[in-house]
Structures are given as C-alpha cells and as structure tokens.
C-alpha cells in the first residue's frame, strides 16, 4: 500500500496546532460567511486527507456535529428572540408572542437569518479548526517535544487528551453491548451507557498510570524538593500569565498591560525550563525536530492570519 504523503505524522504535532490556531484566529477575526465556510472547508479537507488510523483521529464526525449544533442553536435563538428590523426584506412570518414586554417570534428577515448564521458559523469554524489540530496532532509525540521542566504537566495533559477518544471508544463498545440487553424503561439510557463506559475509561487510565509508574515515570533525578516546587510554581504561573495576556490582547483595550503580562509569563517559563532541564535525568529517544515542511506550513498559516488582519 502506498504511503499517504499527506499523513498527519509528516508534520510536527506543534505545526498542526499552529495551523489549527491560525485557522481559528482567521475565523474569529472575520465576520464574513464565505470566510467562515472557507475555514470549515479547509479544516475538514485537511482532516480527511491527513488523518491516520489512530484513536484520536476518529472524532471528525463528532466535531462536525458540534459545529452543526452550534449553528442551529444560534439561528433558532435569533428566530425566537427576534429583533429584526422591519424595514428589511422578510423571509418568513411567525405568529408573534408578547410575554410581559418581551417580543418573541414575529416577522423574520433575511438579514437576521444571515447574521445569525454568520455568528454560528464563526463559532463552528473555531471548534472545527481546533478539532482538526486535535485530530491530527499526535498527543504522545507532542509530549516528546515539550521541554523537560514541563514534562509532568504535559503528561497530565496528554493523559487527559487521550482520555476523550478512549471514552468515545468505550461508549461505542458499551452502546453496542447494551443493544443486546435492550433499553430499559424508566432508567435513563444515558446513565446505563455512561456508567460502564466511564468505569472502563477510568480503569484504563489507571492501568496506564500504573504501567508508567512501574517503568520509572515520576523520577526526578537529583532535583531537590525546593527546586522542584519553584520550577512547578514558575511554570504554572507562566502559563497563567500567558493565558491572561492572550485574553487581554483579544478582548480589551489595555494592550500595554497585555504585553507586560506576556513578557513576564514567557520569562517565567524560560526560567523554569533552565532550572529543570539542567538537572533533568530523563533522556529522549528519536526526538522529532521541526523540518522544512513545518516551517512552510507555519509561514503560510501566519501569512493568512496577517492577510485577514490587514484586510
């Protein structure tokens, strides 16, 4: 069988996240339906051509469903809590309801529908773009690329990321098994499927944790407890600062504060990495380094974001 040259593992997992975040940024910056549809189409196309047979790659349909759900809820709410401008062209009319001064339903204009769809599509595009990154980036390989100091945090994240597809797999298996016994009356079908699947997933992740522990995970070399605590506090603080900075950058007008937060956060993380990596006992096997392809994809993603900002 010929190897698919566009397979997900051809790129560094961080590149996939970069691409996903770039697409999400484009979607959130634009309010044009065509752009949102373009982002969705691109993300879905990349997902379908590049995904491999891995547990975390089976959730394409799941992200599409979330997207569809977001759009329909958005449109439905705008029809119910209708605030159409009566001057615009009317798409269809519903019997208006007045509830203590709140107007529901009534004449729905094309413009209302369009802006609701654009809103919904923007959210859907963000969800699907992030979903793409999650589908294509191999969490275990991403873990390999994190600096030593963040290893434990990254492992916790990887296990959490792994848990979701595992849970989906268990859910599918239990649902299939439950079809043998039939759905009971009175007992919520949900709990009868979710309980065994959750138990199963938790058991599995405990098994994985035990196996990691038994193979030496959690050794900290000759790092003292104080050093370990400092490096953990610094790394956690750094991540928090960067998250706040991102929020301020996007959401408010205090740009200068955001930049200060960002700089401090990055410094904190750099310091942690220096402390811990120097005394790190752990070694890495065949670490994947970003290649030319990665640089190219990252450059194109960045260019696309800048283009949207400039236009």
């Amino acid at each position: 069988m010929p190897v698919n040259p566009f397979r997900a593992s051809a790129l560094h997992p961080a590149t996939w996240w970069f691409l996903g975040l770039a697409l999400a940024a484009i979607a959130s910056l634009s309010s044009d339906i065509a752009v949102e549809l373009g982002v969705i189409a691109a993300a879905v196309f990349v997902m379908l051509t590049c995904r491999e047979h891995a547990p975390w790659s089976r959730s394409v349909r799941f992200y599409l469903w979330i997207g569809a759900f977001v759009v329909s809820v958005r449109v439905l709410f705008r029809i119910i809590f209708n605030s159409s401008n009566p001057a615009d062209a009317i798409a269809f009319s519903l019997v208006p309801i007045d509830l203590a001064g709140i107007h529901l339903l009534g004449d729905v204009t094309w413009q209302t529908l369009e802006s609701a769809a654009a809103d919904g599509l923007r959210l859907a595009a963000i969800v699907i773009a992030i979903g793409m990154a999650n589908t294509l980036a191999n969490p275990k390989r991403l873990l390999k690329s994190t600096p030593g100091a963040l290893y434990e945090v990254a492992t916790a994240m990887t296990v959490a990321i792994n848990l979701a597809p595992q849970l989906i797999e268990s859910l599918q298996r239990v649902r299939k098994a439950r079809s043998l016994r039939g759905r009971s009356k009175g007992i919520s079908a949900l709990s009868s499927i979710v309980i065994p699947a959750l138990e199963d997933t938790i058991e599995q992740s405990l098994g994985m944790a035990a196996s990691m522990d038994a193979r030496g995970f959690g050794r900290r070399g000759n790092l003292t407890t104080a050093q370990l605590a400092t490096s953990r506090a610094l790394s956690l603080g750094g991540i928090l600062l960067i998250s706040f900075a991102t929020y301020f950058l996007l959401a408010s007008n205090s740009q200068s504060l955001a930049i200060w937060l960002l700089v401090t956060g990055v410094l904190a993380i750099a310091l942690t990495i220096r402390i811990a990596s120097r005394r790190n006992l752990r070694t890495r096997f065949r670490r994947q380094k970003p290649g030319k392809k990665d640089t190219l994809v990252a450059a194109i993603s960045l260019a696309a974001v800048i283009l949207v900002v400039v236009l």
Binding site: H53, K140, L180, G182, G186, I187, D200, A210, A214, G216
Partner: protein, 525 residues
C-alpha cells in the same frame, strides 16, 4: 535474589489481609507460577514486588522485602523500575507510545539512558523477544501475542532482572500463548531473569516452571515445588487430573512425564454423541466487511436444538464478528440467518431476546446498576416476566450471592452468570457466548460448564467462541474452526481435539488414543 520476610498486606477496611505472614525466597533465573482462584489476591501479590501495592493500590504493608540482600520495603514503583519489569493483563491499555521502538524506549528514557545506548538496548531486547522485524510498526497494528511480546521487551529493556507478569496469556489463542510461555522460559534459563507469572490455565505453563506459589485467598501464600503444590489443590490441570486418575506416581506434571508413565491402551467411555433435535439456527453465506477489512467471507453453519457448537480459531479469525452478525445487531454485508422466530436482524430487541441472545466478551458492559438485586429486578421489569424469575435463573447458574453486592465486585464467573441470567430469562432457545472462559479459574469454569449442560438439557442450543481447548472438548458436540473469515474445517470434538486432530487436548496428546480427550473419560482401574 528476592526474599519476602513475614510479609503481611491488606487493604484498608477489609476484614482479613490478602497476604498474611508470607515467607519465601526466589533465586535468580527461577521461573515461578503464581496461581489461585479468581479474586484470591494473585494480582496484589505481584504488585507487591514493584511497589504498586501499596503505593498505587493503597493498603497496609508489614514485614520486609529484600532484593539481593537490600531492603526495598516501601520503595515506590518508579524507584524500583530498573529492578523490576511489570506486564499487566491488557498491554494495549498500558502502552504509552505509538510504535514498537518508542514503546521499548519509554522505560530507558525515564531511567536516563543515552540515545546510543537506547538504540542498542532496544535492538537487543527486540531480538530476544522475537519482535526485531516489528520495531517500526505501529502498536495498534500488532496481534495480541505480538503486543504481549512488546510489553515484555519493554519491561526488560533497561536490564531489569525481575519480570512480573499478571495473566499475560488470558486473551491469546493457544499457539500464541504457548510461544509466550516458551519465551519466558528461555528468558529465565538463558538470561537468568527471575520470572513470576500469574496464570489460570495451569496446563499452559506447568511444564516450564521451577516453582509454584499458591495464593489461597485466606491470606496464606505458600511456595513449593510444582509437584507438591497440587497434592492438596482443588483446581487441577488436565495432566495432573489424568495422572491421578490413572494412578501415576509421582504425579506427572508435563505431557512427556505422563506419556512415559502411562500404560496404554486405556479403557475409556466414549464422548456422548448428542442426539440432534430440530434445526435451531441456520446461517447461509454470511459476509461481514468493515470498511476494507473482510472479517467474515462467506460462512454457513447450522446449530440444532440441544446442541453445543464451538467456534474456534486464532485471534482475528472472525469469531466475534460472526456471533454479533448472527445475533442481528452486528454488521452484516450479505447472507442470511434463519431461526424459528425469523431472522434475528429483523426482530425488535425484545423479540430478539426471545429468539437469540448474546453474552459479549466483556459481560460487565451490560451491567449498570448499583446492586445485584437491582440488576435482577430491572431484568424482570424489562423482560416483562414475573418478579423473581431472573433471580431464580441466576441461582441455577451461580452459587448463592449477597444481593446487596455491587455487580462490579462480583467475581468474573458470577458476573458472567448474572449476564447470562439477564439475557436468558426471556427464554431464547439460542445462546451465543463470546469467549466465556476468559479470566475464569477452574472452579468458575466448572460452574459455567454445568450451566451450559443445563441449557443443553433443557433443549436450548449454545454457540460459543473460545480458545479454550479443554473447555470446548468437555462440552462441544461439534466445532467449526475459522481461519481468516472462512470455515477451515468442521467436525466433532473427537475429530478436531482428539489424537491426530488440529488442536489436541492434553489427555489426547498423552494417550494418543483416538476418541480419548478428557481425564474423566478414563475408566479408573
């Protein structure tokens, strides 16, 4: 090498300790079998070796554990990682990497080996475990047997001298299991690795081990020579049962020993040929395709009322797919299934439960309530039978059990009996069982065999998929052997599992007498 001194371990809140005042020593290169009934604490005993008990499981530890004279009591699993390699029942659940080489590297990375050392160690241990050709393969593409080999190589790659394995063969077909056990024997003899292996199917390992640790469940943990271990042991592998029955002294533990000692020919009663009733189910040209994978490529089979039919074949030969497709809720690409009540695929769930019922490989997937009593009552309600019916059926299939117990706390055998009762109470004449003996000890298997015989006596038919040659020989009237989605061969148990058959039982191998498969057939004289 390893020494347990006065070791006591118990879980908090439990009435009695799992291990009570255990004293034993294991030498370097010793291959030890750990056996005992389900739930007796075999897994716990194994976890004591690398600190998973008590650090991972919780519980109280007293006494001392020494490795080569060094006291390691109370050390954490990751502190013992370079000394002890640990392999659990389901390797696929505990893999941390994606490819074989990366998986072998994981332990080495944690212990700080240099990249050059890693490459050479990985090569060395992959060759030892016979997986050198698979190093770049993704783990998910491997067979169960290969996955276990990877798990073993990964557990030893950092040069661990002690290897602890918790029922590694339970999901493997007979051939893969045999290969795994010989690999372990080779590691202990040639590499001087101390191997501890928990296993239910004693017949698979007895001829290779140097010693046996019996965990009784009442806290007593006794190490002895294999021959002494079975003098007072209730659960006997077929070779031992045979040699006791025939009167071989001292008790033969391996097929070769028994072969040399037994006098031939032996008088024996033939296996009863079942009188087949009416046709219960007829499968015509069934095909199942998942995407591009052809799981079943045109299988036809018939089962009659009162007949027990077994599906055998390697992992991946299509046994499960076939059962699910027959039951009707699994995928079918083409072909048809006939039953007296119509094609099960065309019936509603409740109608189907009156025609054909399936107990899946993981019976516990069907259980979701908090107590046994609730599960039984729910089954009465759902199946619309009078209250107490399911409980009555459960009692027939299992021993008396506290109704307030949580279904997850039942033993594997009891869980199976519960699911069987729930699935059978609607009176389906056709019962499908997928690997029912997985994880069962001899006692539980005997219970299950009795339950199946009762079903048979009441005129129901059973179609069971199984790797367990001895279990199938005991029960099956006919066998279909599957290979790559096709029926490779079909015949009676005597034809396929007897002397000269494809999968001879231990007794057939010893006596080499056609038609003699089981120790209980021999007329004691």
């Amino acid at each position: 090498m390893i020494e347990f001194v006065n070791l006591t371990f118990g879980y908090r809140g439990a009435e009695s300790p799992v291990v009570s005042r255990a004293n034993f020593k294991l030498a370097a290169g010793e291959f030890t079998l750990v056996c005992g009934p389900t739930g007796s604490g075999k897994s716990t005993l194994l976890k004591l070796f690398n600190g998973l008990a008590p650090h991972f499981t919780g519980g109280n530890l007293q006494g001392r554990i020494r490795f080569s004279g060094v006291d390691v009591t109370g050390r954490k699993p990751h502190e013992l990682a370079e000394l002890v390699g640990y392999v659990n029942q389901q390797p696929e659940g505990s893999f941390v990497a994606d490819t074989v080489a990366e998986e072998l590297a994981y332990g080495l990375e944690q212990l700080g080996a240099t990249p050059a050392a890693m490459e050479s160690k990985i090569q060395e241990y992959a060759e030892l475990a016979g997986i050198a050709h698979l190093l770049e393969a993704p783990l998910s593409s491997l067979s169960g047997g290969q996955q276990q080999r990877v798990a073993i190589a990964a557990a030893m790659a950092a040069g661990q001298k002690i290897l602890v394995l918790d029922e590694p063969t339970s999901a493997l077909d007979p051939l893969a299991a045999e290969e795994l056990v010989t690999l372990l024997a080779r590691l202990s003899k040639q590499q001087g690795i101390t191997v501890l292996l928990a296993e239910h199917r004693l017949e698979r390992v007895l001829e290779y081990v140097d010693s046996v640790i019996v965990v009784n469940g009442d806290g007593s943990v006794v190490k002895s020579a294999p021959r002494d271990a079975f003098n007072n042991y209730r659960l006997l592998p077929p070779v031992v049962e045979f040699s006791k029955r025939v009167g071989i002294e001292p008790t033969a533990l391996t097929i070769n020993e028994a072969k040399l000692a037994s006098v031939k020919p032996l008088a024996f009663t033939g296996l009863e040929a079942s009188i087949s009733g009416e046709l219960a189910i007829s499968v015509e040209n069934l095909e199942v395709t998942y995407g591009k994978t052809e799981a079943i490529r045109g299988v036809s089979l018939k089962v009659h009322a009162g007949e027990v039919v077994a599906l055998m074949g390697d992992n991946g030969s299509g046994k499960s797919s076939l059962l699910w497709a027959i039951q009707g809720s699994g995928q079918r690409t083409s072909g048809s299934v006939w039953s007296a009540k119509g094609d099960p695929a065309k019936l509603s769930v409740i109608e189907r439960l009156g025609a054909v019922t399936l107990v899946p490989q993981r019976a516990s997937d069907l259980l979701f309530l908090n107590t046994l009593a609730e599960e039984l009552a729910e089954s009465d309600r759902f199946n619309d039978v009078s209250p107490g019916e399911t409980a009555k059926l459960f009692l027939q299939l299992s021993n008396r059990t506290d109704p307030k117990q949580h279904p997850r706390d039942l033993s594997a055998g009891q869980q199976l009996a519960l699911v069987l009762a729930v699935q059978l109470v609607k009176g389906a004449p056709m019962v499908l069982l997928d690997e029912p003996t997985r994880g069962l000890d001899y006692e539980a298997k005997r219970h299950l065999a009795r339950a199946i015989e009762k079903l048979k006596a009441s005129g129901r038919s059973v179609l069971l998929a199984s790797h367990d040659v001895e279990f199938v020989a005991q029960l099956a009237d006919r066998i279909y052997l599957l290979e790559a989605g096709l029926v490779k061969t079909t015949g009676t148990a005597s034809e396929l599992l007897g002397f000269g058959g494809v999968l001879p039982t231990q007794v057939a191998q010893i006596t080499e007498q056609p038609g003699l498969l089981l120790a209980e057939q021999v007329i004691a004289g």
